[in-house]
Amino acid sequence: MGEDVYKVKVAKDLEDLIPTFLGNRHKEIDALRVALAAADFEQLRQLGHRMRGVGNSYGFERISVIGKHIEDGARGGDKAALAAQIADYSDYLSKVQITYE
């Protein structure tokens, strides 16, 4: 797995949006796992596409990067690679530490 802690700086005025944002990201992992189990690559592509758009908008660059990998992986139908990305995403969310400024 990755690093011990992922430090992210988020704009102060977005602070009140972050709990909902992170809650939705956890739901996203569940949705990704379900889609992978069903080999629903179109759903995986759409979820990856959404992650790519929203992640770095809030300052979570890694979410956008993982999202792009999932989007690309879904197009190739590579289940093993997708599983690795989803695991990476889950690990990231469990270790992310936010500071507001």
Partner: protein, 363 residues
Amino acid sequence: MSSFRVLVVDDDPDMAAFLAKIITAEGMVADAVYDGDSALLSVLTQAPDLVLLDVMLPGKSGFDICEHLKSDPATALIPVVLVTALEDHESRVRGIQAGADDFLSKPVNREELIARVKTLRRLHETRRELEERRLAAEVQRKEAIRKAFSRYVSPRLADTIIRDVGTDDAPFKAHAHRAEVVALFADLRGFTRITESIAVHNVVEMLNEFFSVLTEAAYHHEGTIFNMAGDSLLVGFNVPFPQPDAPARAWRTAVDMVSSFGPLSVAWRGRYGVETGVGIGICSGEAIIGNVGSPHFMSYTVIGNPVNTAARLVQMAQADEVLVAGAFYQSIRDLVPEARVQARGDIALRGMSEATAVYSIRL
């Protein structure tokens, strides 16, 4: 400055919340919807000043929504920014074809978002300001035309000409037509003596005062002034607009002309030592109405028996006397105190083939 309203359309609630947050922080108003149908409904309900539109929407895509907005004249000028993570060339071309005003890439950079929205806001507000100025200039121009026209026709007629110009309903129809009209001639009694004994510039001033009083009375009752010559004024009723109460209007105009002229006559007596009054002739009947003249000069004219008869009657009328033809009298007799009326019998008026029943009404 009025509030600038941005409609955020994105099926990802987090993305919509983020965009709305940034917009609000910049002092603008943001509303968020999450699908295409809601976006169209929102625009229809309250048109925004700008739309931030996600491309990948469930149902109608952002391209479809953009195309829809840009094809409707009512919404075509609302700036649309397509917000998309699609980076391929085809998607950009598709967005341009849909009429998008700008693009914003996802992930969204806050500074870029603010800069683009502010630029479009400036453009939008400048365009709106120019449109407001254009409308104000248009109103000003119409008002100037109306004022100019109002010197020649009643204010209501001037308004109608400006409104209907170029339409088939224009009151000054190219072709002449027949209509029932009431013709009223008013004439200044004592004018010959005025021209002989008073300085020219004073005569002109007196005529201006005289016609001011008469035209005000005519316009007050929405008569149309057809002719002003020498010391005589021709006013028509029931033309060019139908006036079911045209005889009553003509009668009240005559009463107002005489009563309004009273104080002026007194003033002239004091200033110039002249005795004056208004004589009036009125007749109703069928006449021909139309534009007569050449391509260089045209006159809106009323021709026919009622005009000729009224002209003869006014020649006979004394100061403060209204001479009216029989048919017209019958249509206003309820309005006139009987004591003021004197039947003159059938009179053979000059140039008329048949005798005319004439009534004299003293005011």
